[in-house]
């Protein structure tokens, strides 16, 4: 018999599932950025800047999941 608050399970699942997609996304983004960096090393600066910006957008989705998890865990 498992005891405990089911909300904790929900919070864990929210961040676990919510970080799957962004994790894949950031990996793919970085891989593509590295690829284009290898093809065109002079464009390192703009590629890096745009990569960080795009990663921020992708990461924001994981942050939404995190906020949901935090709300489940800490707001009653």
């Amino acid at each position: 018999m498992i005891e405990g608050n089911i909300g904790d399970l929900g919070a864990g699942l929210a961040i676990a599932l919510g970080s799957l997609g962004p994790g894949l996304g950031i990996g793919w983004l970085a891989s593509k950025a590295m690829e284009s960096l290898g093809r065109n090393p002079e464009a390192a600066r703009p590629i890096q800047q745009n990569m960080i910006l795009a990663i921020a957008f992708t990461e924001a989705i994981a942050i939404y999941a995190l906020v949901v998890a935090i709300i489940i865990k800490f707001v009653n």
Binding site: N5, I52, I63, I70, F74
Partner: protein
């Protein structure tokens, strides 16, 4: 690897680092399970909304929260730094003036490359202000003293509040403090061998048993200072200012009809009208995304640091402090750069967008 073992200096450093790490793990919460835990790091109370510094309302309906105090501290610090940097300006900058000049030059180049030279000059002050404010408050939040020094809310008050809010008392962990003063410090060594939850404390009180010896008290630490961006109100306020200015600049450069026409487009048929309405939703999505990106990152960082201070106290936490410094700067950079990009996008009309 073989090179490493030939150099005695590297080997000594590696051994010392490994030893320090093992010491940190053994002294933390993991070691406590195996009769270690001699560093006795306590786990701080994690709370989502900002806590009031004083228990009473300052004036009706307003409680001074610790994030507001941290925001004021940030403002004062930035003002003092700016004053010191510009007090004795020289032709060849040194020290603080040099740092600020490098920062401004970097951002003005960036603004010019994203929004063009003329618009870039217009957008620079706000984006740079946002960057400096956010990075200062994020870095301030990592300083010792933030989240560890505060007033002690006694166990009776905690239980009273938890019962009012309908929280499960078994889930509220209480801490033990030396002395009976109103101000407490959450220091190393203040952990106890057994955990005291609010439920256990209440039951013990009802039976007339005192869980702690004389000269100590049970309660929760309410910190005086807490990183400003761990409060969703702070980040929402910055986001509202940023989005307001984005639309202000758009009205300035496109005119009222030009900017409103992007959202209420009656000339391009039903599809264009629908796209325009979606744009309105998009603007609100940007606002919410701004708010929660910064809040989520900094709050998660705070929780990470608390958990790591519990698991790997004193030494193992150092890499995570470095990570938080990096995250704090990157988030500030992203916030300001996105403001700049949104402003540049909004200030160019549909006609000039496709050339």
């Amino acid at each position: 690897m073989s090179k490493l073992f030939k150099s005695p200096k590297a080997l000594v450093i590696l051994t010392l680092a490994l030893g320090a790490f093992v010491l940190s793990v053994a002294g933390g919460a993991l070691g406590k399970e195996f009769n270690g835990g001699f560093l006795g790091a306590p786990i701080a109370h994690i709370q989502l909304p900002a806590e009031p510094v004083f228990a009473d309302e300052l004036f009706p309906g307003f409680k001074l929260t610790n994030t507001i105090v941290a925001t004021w501290l940030t403002i004062v610090l930035v003002a003092v730094l700016a004053f010191l940097a510009t007090r004795r300006m020289t032709e060849v900058p040194t020290g603080l003036q040099n740092m600020f000049e490098a920062l401004i030059e970097f951002f003005s180049n960036l603004a010019a490359s994203i929004a063009g030279p003329e618009n870039g000059r217009r957008f620079l002050p706000l984006t740079l202000t946002i960057f400096i404010f956010i990075v200062t408050s994020n870095w301030l939040g990592i300083l010792p003293g933030f989240g560890t020094i505060g007033r002690i809310e006694t166990a009776e008050e905690v239980i009273h509040h938890a019962e009012d809010a309908g929280t499960d008392l078994a889930g509220v962990n209480l801490q033990v403090f030396d002395g009976d003063g109103a101000v407490g410090i959450l220091s190393l060594g203040s952990i106890r061998t057994e955990e005291i939850t609010a439920k256990r404390f209440k039951e013990a009180e009802e039976e007339g048993v005192h869980l702690v010896e004389d000269g100590k008290q049970v309660g929760i630490l309410v910190p005086f200072l807490r990183s400003a961006n761990t409060d969703v109100n702070t980040t929402l306020a910055i986001a509202i200012v940023a989005m307001f200015m984005v639309h202000f600049w758009a009205f300035r450069s496109l005119g009222i009809a030009g900017h409103v026409g992007k959202f209420l487009n009656f000339r391009g048929g039903p599809v264009a009208l629908f796209v325009g309405l979606l744009e309105i939703i998009g603007e609100f999505a940007r606002l919410i995304s701004f708010t929660f990106r910064l809040f989520g990152n900094i709050f998660a960082g705070e929780v990470l640091l608390i958990a790591m201070a519990f698991l790997l106290p004193l030494i193992g936490i150092i890499p995570f402090l470095g990570l938080e410094l990096f995250v704090g700067m990157i988030q500030a950079f992203i916030f300001s750069i996105l403001t700049l990009v949104f402003a540049a996008l909004a200030s160019t009309g549909h006609d000039t967008e496709h050339h």
